[in-house]
């Protein structure tokens, strides 16, 4: 869940890159890490096996745009794609705000894509949540491979829920589609957060609490005492 810190005037979000083994989740984070200005990124941490397969997670903290004086921060995680690491995927999904599902476009990976997407829905459900309520986007990666399935087929098998979500073709090794994907999920997250905040403020005021501007100055006054 997004965390609002009025003391630092910042909002933090957690985004998890999910998908089958070797679909390119870590490659997405590595490309992002390579492109973002040093001042706006932390270290890319990878908990991987000796063979460079993700064992626990990869983690990349990013500072993003300032909106109305509030800094936005995004913490990007990947999960290990290998089937045996399901317990780890459940841990990484805790408090998730948004998801990028990275699918491998190669024909022979379709079953793994479907299994992984189903596994994502199951793991979200285990947290008492539904994918319907979590902003997510789809990324069809590895479009440069010799045998990619057509995009409309990937849409048919993965983007077939009640509400169709934004989807992006990508070649994460070259960066194609990587930022388009990240920007899209981040915008969805920010919009959901803003909408929920507006609803909460409205409910708060209807419950007879002081208008928001008064509340804010009250909070500022607490700060100025320090």
């Amino acid at each position: 869940m997004a965390i609002i810190n009025y003391a630092n005037k910042e909002v933090q979000f957690k985004v998890v890159y999910y998908g089958p083994a070797l679909c390119g989740k870590t490659t997405n984070l590595a490309y992002i890490h390579g492109q973002v200005n040093d001042n706006n990124k932390g270290e890319l941490v990878s908990l991987a096996t000796a063979a460079d397969r993700t064992l626990f997670f990869d983690f990349l903290p990013l500072n993003a745009v300032v909106i109305k004086g509030f800094k936005t921060k995004f913490q990007l995680y990947t999960v290990p794609g290998q089937v045996i690491y399901n317990a780890t995927r459940q841990l990484v999904l805790r408090s998730v705000d948004g998801i990028v599902f990275v699918a491998d476009s190669q024909w022979e990976k379709m079953e793994e894509n479907i299994e992984s997407f189903k596994n994502l829905q199951d793991n979200i459900a285990r947290q008492g949540q539904s994918l319907d309520n979590i902003p997510y986007v789809l990324q069809y990666n590895k479009r440069d491979m010799p045998n990619p399935a057509p995009v409309h087929y990937l849409e048919y098998i993965l983007n077939n829920r009640k509400v169709r979500v934004p989807s992006f073709v990508a070649v994460a090794t070259t960066g194609q589609g990587v930022f388009a994907t990240l920007n899209a999920v981040s915008r969805l997250l920010l919009q959901k957060f803003a909408w929920e905040n507006e609803q909460a403020v409205s409910r708060h005021q209807h419950a007879g609490h002081p208008p928001a501007s008064t509340s804010l100055s009250g909070i500022a006054a607490v700060s100025s005492r320090r």
Binding site: M1, A2, I3, I4, N5, Y6, A7, N8, Q12, K14, I32, Q35, V36, G42, E43, V45, L47, F56, F57, F59, P61, L62, A64, V65, I67, K68, F70, T72, Q75, Y77, T88, L91, V92, R94, S95, F179, L182, N183, S186, R187, L190, Q191, A194, W195, E196, N197, E198, A200, V201, H204, H209, A212, S215, L216, G218, I219, A220, V222, S223, R226
Partner: protein, 154 residues
């Protein structure tokens, strides 16, 4: 959604400051179990990024919880790792948060552990108060988001 008012953050900071004074540990932070930093006090090595430590500590503590479940325990109350120069002590505050303490040879695990018990109670009470007396104020609107061009500068 978790909301940290300035008042709540001040209470947490005071709790951590008192804890560091008494335990003589160098650095402490409160993180949520998803790996986000809620509040931090003290100093650590310049190269150490608290957000990375938080992500790793949350993952590590969550993994030990799974281990505990496998042997019939609900949770291990604390996790301790000792290095040559620094030690880290992680303990649960409530269902959503964890206290992470980093200390060197200037103090002992016993002292840190002893003072962590009442610090955890103090922090848990402050967090509970924060949850029940939340003052909701506008952050930014959907329209503000709409008019934002580059979220990551590209």
């Amino acid at each position: 959604m978790p909301i940290l008012t300035i008042h709540a953050v001040n209470q947490l900071l005071e709790g951590l400051e008192d804890f560091l004074d008494k335990s003589e540990a160098g650095f402490a932070m409160i993180i949520d179990r998803g790996g986000a930093v809620l509040c931090q006090q003290g100093s650590i090595a310049e190269a150490a990024d608290p957000s990375i430590i938080a992500a790793l500590a949350a993952g590590s503590f969550a993994a030990t919880k799974e281990l505990a479940l496998r042997i019939g325990e609900a949770e291990f109350s604390a996790l301790h790792q000792e290095g040559e120069h620094s030690q880290i002590f992680i303990c649960g505050v409530d269902n959503d948060t964890v206290l992470v303490t980093i200390f060197g040879p200037q103090t002992t695990l016993g002292l840190v552990r002893f003072y962590s018990v009442r610090t955890v109670k103090r922090i848990a009470a402050a967090l509970q108060e924060s949850r029940t007396n939340q003052r909701i104020v506008p952050v930014f609107s959907a329209q503000d988001v709409q008019s934002t061009q580059n979220i990551f500068g590209r």
